[in-house]
């Protein structure tokens, strides 16, 4: 009977994760980690929480994985309440914390076996799901987890989080400190997992990874700045954005900032991205040339997610 009920609850909702008015404070209420957070993630969605350290990403993960109680608000995962039904949630989610949390003195294989057994399954039973990832570390399966490289630890942790075939996967900053090539490979793995119907909530401080998510929430200091698809967030950038080039970027940056019509101006790689309160393109270029900048080029560009985040931080 009980399992039938659970199925019904799950069946009713197309939502995989839902939060309503979640607030969490630490140190007897003196430090607010997150305040009034509400959003939901659809089944099968790849949803990104994008924000810097201290934004509250890990707190949300810990609340959703039933490891931490919120001060206020309600949340469900797979239709289960994070407080009342915590046991059911623990059975149907996989969690890869930001800090490596496997057993350092067990080998790769022993760790994987341990997590499979704890969840009442075997490596064999769900091997298909982890195969792509596991084959990359299988040659080292007798090596202790504590002796693995960062990239290998990351892959093992993902395997362990997947071995019981969870409905929902929580990945807390899986790519932090990982080089650009490995990051790309990791996101390709996530895409394949998503194709198998697993809902994924992933956090990252790298803004360029936002475009790889179906939807994202930009989060800063415990508050959500914006939630939407990456394309819609970019569309909603309120101003005309310009890229400005010259041979000396730092001088150009200082001079553009000193122009009276400049609203915001930041370095983006080899160019500046700037918005203006007033002044035409001609005014800006003229001013920069008068300051001694050579070969100044200026053009309208489409904002990146990072531009949008910076703009939202202004308010």
């Amino acid at each position: 009977m009980k399992s039938n009920n659970e199925n019904n609850i799950q069946g009713k909702s197309a939502l995989s994760i839902s939060l309503k008015g979640i607030k969490k404070t630490y140190n007897k209420g003196t430090v607010t980690a997150v305040k009034n957070i509400s959003f939901s993630v659809n089944k099968g969605e790849l949803f990104g929480l994008i924000g810097p350290d201290g934004a509250g990403k890990t707190t949300l993960f810990r609340i959703l994985t039933t490891l931490l109680l919120a001060d206020e608000g309600t949340a469900t995962v797979n239709g289960f309440d994070v407080v009342k039904d915590y046991k059911a949630i623990r059975n149907c989610v996989g969690y890869m914390p930001g800090k490596f949390s496997l057993y350092q003195d067990l080998t790769i294989e022993e760790n994987l076996n341990f997590f499979a057994t704890v969840f009442g399954t075997t490596i064999k039973q769900n091997y298909d799901l982890i195969k792509d990832i596991y084959v990359q570390i299988e040659p080292f399966k007798d090596r202790r987890a504590g002796k693995l490289s960062g990239g290998m630890k990351q892959k093992l942790a993902l395997c362990c989080a997947l071995i019981h075939k969870p409905d929902v996967l929580f990945l807390d900053e899986p790519t932090t400190g990982v080089d650009a090539v490995s990051r790309k490979e990791f996101w390709e793995m996530l895409k394949r997992l998503k194709e198998q119907g697993i809902t994924i909530l992933v956090s990252t401080p790298y803004m360029d990874e936002a475009n790889l998510c179906d939807r994202i929430a930009l989060i800063q200091r415990g508050e959500i700045l914006s939630i939407d698809t990456p394309a819609k967030i970019i569309e909603s950038f309120p101003q005309q954005l310009y890229a400005i080039h010259s041979s000396k970027t730092f001088k150009l940056l200082q001079d553009t900032r000193s122009f009276s019509g400049t609203d915001s101006c930041f370095a983006f790689g080899d160019a500046l991205h700037a918005t203006f309160k007033n002044g035409t393109e001609k005014d800006v270029i003229g001013y920069l040339q008068s300051k001694g900048n050579e070969d100044v080029q200026m053009k309208i560009i489409t904002p990146t997610i990072e531009d949008c985040f910076i703009n939202l931080l202004k308010n």
């Binding site: 080089d179 090539v181 490995s182 790298y206 080899d270």
Partner: protein, 246 residues
Amino acid sequence: MQSVITTDKLTKRFGDFIACNELSFEVGKGEIFGFLGANGAGKTTAMRMLCGLLKPSSGKASIAGFDVYTQTEKIKKSIGYMSQKFSLYDDLTVAENIRFYGGIYGMNTKEIKAKTIELLDELQLQNEAKTLVSDLPLGWKQKLSFSVSIVHNPEIVFLDEPTGGVDPVTRRQFWDLIYHAADKGVTIFVTTHYMDEAEYCNRVSIMVDGVIAALDSPANLKKQFNSDSMEEVFYQLARKATRSDN
């Protein structure tokens, strides 16, 4: 340009494993030099040799005019170092941390006092002098950590992934500090996983499997690899790597 880092076939072996294989390059005074590579390419080993913390197996290197085999103590006095893992003391205040590092580097009380005021002004942390470092936001800690690493006016500062985890505005403010220091003649040697930051460097080297696979200005590298961005240049080079980590 006067060079402050010169290496010639600098090599480090651990048993059969060649972590750094015949690195030869120069870094000029006041240059912002980006030192990139995939995880495990050998960056950390190279940096430890350049800082006088690890004896090379073979090859030559001089840092601020000092030899990496015989003059490591002099090297340590001429360089600053900041890593992602902060070297600040959490349970000391902002001013106490500055005083502590000034003392370590042999500055006298008068110099430390003057430097403390100067740094607090520059960082706009005047009101936080008595705040415990543990209570500072991450971005402020990073800025303070950088300032403390150059408290003794070193010729070179090594920055090991200095900007991890902060918001995009704070990350750029940090680079403003780097530019200011470089303007004053401090040579900046920096590693990063943010490829847009590679573009802020005067020159960039990319290590793959223990060797320097490319070294040039970002503009020239993009031309050479026919790419629009440093991200693509990095990807072209680093995906060929066979080593994945150290």
